[in-house]
């Protein structure tokens, strides 16, 4: 009798423990969701009212990162007419940044927008990567380690901005290609990335992210009619190191306004927290249930055996 009770007690305790673990786990993950980025991380404001589409940033990036020779010179502006499957140019394994032209209804001149990694405070690529190939550095860069990458390309699906691209030309030695904020050569030493230094119009302004946010808001405040009253990237995807100011609605310059205002991680956190619980507790739990439910049969069998022997 005693034995039976203790076993039942054990299972009860196990269940209680599972519930407690789930609740505690939830609290822990919620706490980590309030991370608002490293306090001293750097950032860039891209001001679309200033960009004239000279492509200097593209050229500077190409040289700084040692990327392959482009198919056309960087002073060829016919690239703005290029469409690939109806889409404007995008970053790929040969270019970490591209400038695209947008004709905005009601504006007498086109707008140009530079595109590159946003360097999220809580990057979706990083959280989706199961081999930890990505790191968000305290300086603000989201960098990538090819040595551990297995080429699963989950990061490419996870990124809300469609930035990481796969080097299909070396699929057996997988490498994801994306802007790294010139981390190795510049940011690590506190220097602005190559594109920022190259910009003649100072359409790209570099500094502490907190200061850049202040600069962006001041520009809106001083010239309210000039800008849409929103800093794209202040809250998008939980906050990004690269932020945009625009004179036209953001969806008209190719920036999705459906990107959530919280880290993409928040949407999968609940699920991801359950995975280890399922893997560790469920086998023991259901094995217990199985043993319990078949116990009477086994006792009966033993008694039958004893009776037969007797």
């Amino acid at each position: 009798m005693n034995k039976q009770l203790s076993r039942r007690g054990f299972i009860k305790g196990g269940l209680a423990g599972t519930v407690a673990a789930t609740v505690l786990k939830d609290k822990e993950t919620l706490a980590s969701g309030s991370f608002e980025g490293y306090p001293d991380s750097m950032g860039v404001v891209v001001d679309l009212t200033r960009c004239v589409g000279c492509r200097s940033c593209e050229a500077a990036c190409n040289k700084e990162q040692g990327l392959p020779e482009p198919p056309e010179p960087f002073d060829d502006f016919s690239v703005f007419d290029h469409l690939h499957h109806g889409q404007k140019r995008r970053t790929d394994e040969t270019r970490y940044t591209v400038v695209n032209r947008y004709e905005v209804p009601g504006l007498d001149h086109p707008l140009f927008r530079k595109k590159q990694c946003f360097h999220c405070n809580e990057p979706a690529c990083l959280t989706s990567c199961f081999v930890n190939a990505y790191t968000k550095t305290p300086e603000g860069a989201v960098i990538y380690n090819q040595k551990v990458c297995v080429g699963c390309r989950t990061c490419m699906i996870a990124c809300p901005f469609y930035i990481p691209t796969f080097k299909y030309s070396s699929a057996f030695k997988p490498q994801v290609m994306k802007c790294i904020f010139c981390y190795d050569t510049r940011l690590k030493e506190g220097k602005a990335p190559a594109c920022v230094d190259a910009c003649p119009q100072e359409a790209l302004t570099f500094g502490k992210r907190s200061d850049m946010l202040e600069v962006a808001k001041q520009r809106i405040r001083l010239e309210p009619g000039k800008y849409v009253d929103h800093v794209y990237g202040e809250h998008e995807a939980g906050g990004t190191s690269w932020m945009y100011l625009s004179p036209a609605p953001f969806d008209q310059v190719g920036l999705s306004t459906n990107v959530p205002k919280e880290p993409v991680l928040n949407y999968v956190k609940g699920f991801l927290a359950i995975v280890p619980m399922v893997l560790t507790i469920w086998p023991a739990l259901f094995a217990g249930f199985h043993l319990l439910s078949t116990r009477k049969d086994r006792i009966k069998q033993i008694q039958n055996d004893e009776n037969q022997e007797g």
Partner: protein
């Protein structure tokens, strides 16, 4: 005594003259004080220096359009006038004395941490030139192409993969338009 008296008279006349003229010219610099042309070479690396025809531009714009409050003609923006209200000339009218050649250098980034700094968004020298020049050229239909103002140097051709460094199999105007080519 005579020469002394004459001196005094002259001084009075000068003072009167200054007082009468002061409201008219605001003790400001005028176009005649300005140089005919200015060579802008502080940033020349990718492009050749720009020979800026100051005399030609003086007739098209007010001094303050480019020099803000430093030429003593009063600032263009009422927001600037809140502090720079005077008609006094600045100690320097040179762009590079206020606009840093390396706006994102350590020194300037540290300056951003100074809580007393008011001008948190002052463009660097290169930015100041281009924002001012290109902004006005766009409004007044002036030339706005890069090489309309400065010719590209060899280092620039290398960076832009153009001129001597043009990609080997480059055919101008043969981009991958959807209509022309399906895949690249």
């Amino acid at each position: 005594m005579q020469p002394g008296k004459k001196m005094l008279q002259a001084a009075w006349a000068l003072a009167l003259g200054v007082m009468l003229l002061a409201p008219a010219c605001g003790l400001a610099m005028d176009a005649d004080d300005a140089p005919e042309s200015v060579e802008i070479d502080s940033l020349a690396k990718l492009y050749e220096p720009v020979e800026f025809d100051h005399a030609a531009h003086v007739v098209m714009a007010d001094c303050s359009d480019c020099h803000h409050h430093t030429t003593g003609t009063g600032p263009a923006s009422p927001n600037c006038a809140r502090c720079h209200d005077g008609v006094e000339e600045g100690e320097s009218v040179s762009c590079s004395d206020c606009h840093a050649a390396e706006p994102f250098g350590r020194e300037n980034l540290e300056e951003m941490e100074n809580p007393e700094i008011f001008h948190i968004d002052k463009p660097g020298l290169k930015g100041a030139y281009h924002l001012n020049c290109v902004g006005c050229h766009q409004e007044l239909d002036g030339p706005t192409g890069c090489q309309d103002c400065h010719t590209m140097a060899e280092a620039g051709e290398k960076m832009f993969n153009t001129g001597k460094f043009v990609p080997a199999d480059y055919k101008p105007g043969a981009g991958h338009h959807d209509a022309e080519k399906k895949h690249e």
